[in-house]
């Protein structure tokens, strides 16, 4: 597919445009949101138990912390976890899958054995153990933990892609022109895998956000700071629903759902762009 066709179908795909708009908006909120509030996310700002009002747009919680402030900061850290954690998982998966597929032989078998072992270990259990052993946890550390555990399926998928690409005739042609392996990898194979890698990254992005929320929710989130998952955890801990404080739960829950759903829609859209058979004319 050439660039013109890509741009055409990309811009004409309603799913992609909608998803891009939503994601752009969320990114803007997470970047500029903190400037719109004069509070600190953990500061006891005002009277507790306030439903949304002029002063506190999204109300306050049991401690009188401003929930709007918490939400924008929380969104920021959730998106960061997605970016770093998902990015790391994609890169590791890409490298391992690529090496396994390209080199083949025993090298492939060892790497795939490792991958399969990691794949059958329940990731959440592993995450809990690692996270519980770390006395200090920030957003970055959390991303690394998630990234280090989420790559196996990516590696498998990338390996399969590489296996099919390396038997293409243009790769053979490059080899019989005595082209160096590095050139074959980066100039012949990689460019043909970009679309696929991009879609994998988006899936990993959403996966990392969900994994982080899960960790936060069981109390293994960042030890300092705030995230959407921590907001949900605290809301549950302090019986927000039983006390009728719906505003404490609804915003973070809805935001997480929105982000993950949007990413999913984005991926379906991209699938349509890259795969002509799914395209609607």
């Amino acid at each position: 597919m050439n660039l013109k066709e890509f741009v055409y179908f990309f811009l004409r795909n309603k799913k992609i445009i909608t998803a891009l708009c939503i994601l752009g908006l969320l990114a803007l909120v997470s970047i500029f949101g903190p400037f719109l509030t004069s509070y600190d996310p953990l500061e006891f700002a005002s009277a507790p138990y306030q439903p949304p009002n002029r002063q506190h747009w999204l109300g306050t919680n049991t401690f009188g912390q401003d929930l709007f402030t918490q939400t924008v900061y929380g969104l920021r850290s959730s998106l960061l976890v997605g970016l770093f954690g998902g990015g790391l998982a994609t890169i590791i998966g890409l490298i391992i899958g690529f090496l396994a597929g390209y080199r083949g032989g025993w090298f492939d078998e060892i790497l795939m054995m490792l991958t399969n072992i990691l794949m059958v270990i329940p990731t959440l259990a592993l995450l809990i153990i690692i996270a519980a052993y770390l006395p200090y946890r920030g957003v970055l550390i959390q991303s690394v933990i998630i990234g280090l555990t989420a790559w196996p399926w990516t590696a498998r998928a990338v390996r399969a892609q590489t296996l099919s690409l390396k038997t293409r005739e243009f790769v053979d042609l490059a080899r019989i022109t005595a082209t160096r392996s590095s050139k074959i990898i980066f100039q012949e194979i990689m460019p043909n895998m970009m679309s696929y890698v991009f879609m994998v990254f988006i899936l990993q992005f959403g996966g990392a956000i969900l994994a982080a929320t899960g960790l936060d929710f069981i109390g293994l989130g960042p030890t300092r700071g705030i995230s959407l998952g921590i907001m949900l955890q605290q809301a549950t801990l302090w019986n927000a629903i039983q006390l009728g404080m719906w505003w404490w739960v609804v915003t973070p829950g809805a935001l997480i759902t929105l982000v993950v759903a949007t990413l999913y829609i984005m991926n379906t859209g991209l699938d349509e762009v890259f795969n002509p058979r799914l395209r609607e004319m």
């Binding site: 597919m1 050439n2 078998e109 293409r168 005739e169 243009f170 053979d172 042609l173 490059a174 080899r175 019989i176 022109t177 005595a178 082209t179 012949e188 460019p191 043909n192």
Partner: protein, 308 residues
């Protein structure tokens, strides 16, 4: 002079993860290709002809046996790939997957010039493009702007850019339309005559093999079952399989009723003992299960008990 020889070349592929079981894709294949000759390797899918091509190009390593180019062992020559590939080149079947879609034709052709450090890039590009009858402005084009026949010409241009001694052409015309096919075959002939380059023409088409080749070897289930001069082999085939191929070739003077049942292609995982063609052979006898050797008779080679 002998340019390229295969001596009892075997290639096994492991089956399954543990690799305990093996498929023998190429079984004790030997042949010689001479200077400025066109040698055809004919076979149907699974016959091992493409694997032989990959072995010669160094894309696969033989399990046993030797491939000898210009008196030297290819596995040794491949230690210096630049030198080997300057002399040995390849053309593949599918002109659509042979060109990277994101690169201009010029970029595609320039890379070998750079790697082999050939001076005067622009002049040489002009030369090879005119040799394959393409206009020079093709260098500015992307693959999707060219037709199948034009793409195959680009691939051929690339293969002759280093003035190699031998070119392996793996089904160079099978994906092309008939009207284009003939002109590509003629181009191969002209290149052979003008630059005395040898070709190994891998194909499934007896007619086009006879049209351009000097010698033909017919493969079945990994083995060469008959080899001889193109004229002898096609006009008077010896092996029952070659006869089958010959009778299956289209002929306006022959009605459909004359062709018998042709049976199923061989299953490489469960080959019979002895002659692999036995299950499909109208002349098969009990002894075929224990017979498996090449017979040389009147300068022709055939692997069949009928000529013992």
């Amino acid at each position: 002079m002998k340019l390229l020889s295969l001596v009892k070349v075997v290639k096994d592929f492991p089956l399954g993860i543990l690799g305990r079981e093996r498929i023998r894709a190429v079984d004790r294949v030997s042949f010689d290709v001479y200077d400025s000759a066109i040698f055809a390797l004919i076979g149907e899918s699974g016959s091992g002809k493409t694997t032989i091509g990959k072995l010669i190009l160094g894309l696969l390593k033989p399990t046993s046996g030797e491939i000898i180019f210009n008196g030297q062992n290819v596995s040794k020559l491949l230690e210096d790939p630049e030198k080997y590939y300057r002399n040995v080149q390849g053309i593949f079947q599918d002109p659509f997957s042979a060109l990277n879609p994101v690169k201009r034709i010029g970029q595609f052709l320039e890379r070998p010039l750079k790697i082999f450090k050939i001076p005067d890039v622009k002049k040489r590009l002009k030369e090879v493009l005119s040799e394959v009858e393409l206009p020079f402005d093709s260098v500015e084009k992307y693959p999707h702007e060219l037709s199948g026949g034009q793409r195959q010409r680009v691939v051929i241009a690339r293969s002759i850019i280093t003035r190699p001694k031998i070119i392996l052409a793996d089904e160079p015309t099978s994906m092309l339309d008939v009207s284009i096919k003939a002109s590509i075959l003629n181009l191969i002939l002209r290149l052979r005559d003008d630059y005395s380059v040898s070709f190994i023409h891998v194909t499934h088409d007896l007619a086009s093999a006879k049209y351009i080749s000097d010698r033909i070897a017919v493969m079945y289930a990994g083995q060469i079952i008959e080899e001889g001069y193109a004229r002898d082999l096609v006009d008077d085939p010896l092996h029952p399989y070659t006869k089958l191929l010959r009778s299956a070739a289209p002929d306006p003077n022959k009605s459909i009723a004359k062709i018998g049942q042709t049976g199923e292609p061989p299953d490489l995982i469960a080959l019979p003992n002895g002659c692999a063609f036995k299950p499909r052979c109208p002349y098969a006898s009990k002894e075929c299960s224990s017979f498996d050797q090449m017979i040389e008779k009147d300068g022709r080679k055939v692997r069949c008990i009928l000529y013992r």
